[in-house]
Symmetry: C2
Subunit: 184 residues, 2 copies
DNA sequence: GATAATAGGGAATGCTTGTTTCCTTATCAA
DNA sequence: TTGATAAGGAAACAAGCATTCCCTATTATC
């Protein structure tokens, strides 16, 4: 079932919510129509489950990228580099389910809207945490406004996923190099 | 006709492409089904026309915001402030047609994909231009990498529109205050 | 080994969609 | 005024959609 859900994640990332038909879903999940509706109440429920699975996976990926840093600044740098890496090429063109949900559904679907909000807040707290860690370990100056900088960095990460959907190239070292000025 | 197109822009911004039915469109444009199809080949053509109209309007708004700055740095600051202002509140929740198109259509619709790409490049060149102006007039240090910084700022602006779709608040002075560090 | 229960599959259903067709009502030329 | 032309509107249409229903294996139970 989890493997089927992973396939659902892929379709939703590729096509978005509304452009994904039950037919697309069953084909990708290799399940018959009836089986999908036996496992989930409706298409919306499949999407919610896929969303949850996607955010769990991404959080895990981001966390492990951060872990490779020796101090707050390096951990944050690794997080940003990881975001750029996931926004590039085919993976980038596949898109982020959080960004997709925010843009396509958030305003009209309160349930999805709430999940998107919660996820963004979690990511923001995650980034703000690294800034504060860096300030404690001396790798980031104390005068940096942790919360404002974290919110702007959320904008950067979400924007990366938008740009990654297009044909514009994204150079991790260069972009993150510039972005790290925000911690000066 | 232009006033009808403005109404189409609004619906597409609110609901996105796929979630907007011809019924939604005719209701908003106050035109009958037949009339829409007499003016446009199909739904896709309506969207393309709306997209063009939206980008023209936004470019004009951004240009006039920039014009109020006395040097390159101030013009760029005004552009960023204008972006935040348009990403806030009801206007922000209405969303940006470029971001929406990038996320929802870009990957699967080559025509829209090309327009999104072109628009992002235009915006990026616009920002890079202000950076170079600032370097010429002395308001921005010469060591700033104009192109890399411009691309990162595009990510910021697109990200602002994503976050603006959610319930997270956006404080223009604070966010732009932090972002201006990129020009240090 | 027979039976109950469950999981999976595919056809059927009703609804919504984008699109077309045709009819009515203005607009304008002669 | 009359005839032709364009514009606008409503109903009709086929296709595609999400969802339901029912049938068929397979598993587990006694």
């Amino acid at each position: 079932m989890d493997t089927a859900l992973d396939r659902a994640v892929r379709v939703f990332r590729d096509r978005g919510y509304h452009a994904t038909s039950i037919g697309d879903l069953t084909a990708a999940m290799r399940l018959a129509t009836g089986s999908v509706y036996k496992a989930f109440r409706d298409k919306h429920a499949v999407f919610l489950a896929a969303f949850e699975r996607y955010t769990a996976l991404r959080q895990e990926q981001t966390r492990s990228a951060a872990a490779r840093g020796k101090n707050g600044r390096e951990r944050l740098r690794n997080v940003l580099l990881s975001y750029v890496a996931h926004s590039r090429g085919r993976e980038g063109r596949r898109g982020c389910l959080v960004v997709g949900s925010a843009v396509e559904l958030s305003a009209l679907d309160p349930v999805v809207g709430a999940r998107v909000n919660a996820q963004l807040k979690t990511n923001e707290a995650f980034i703000a945490g690294f800034i504060r860690e860096g300030q404690a370990d001396g790798s980031i100056p104390g005068h940096v406004a942790a919360d404002d900088t974290a919110r702007l960095m959320i904008c950067i990460t979400q924007g990366l996923r938008v740009v990654g959907k297009t044909r514009l190239s994204l150079d991790g070292d260069r972009l993150v190099g510039v972005a790290m000025k925000l911690l000066a």
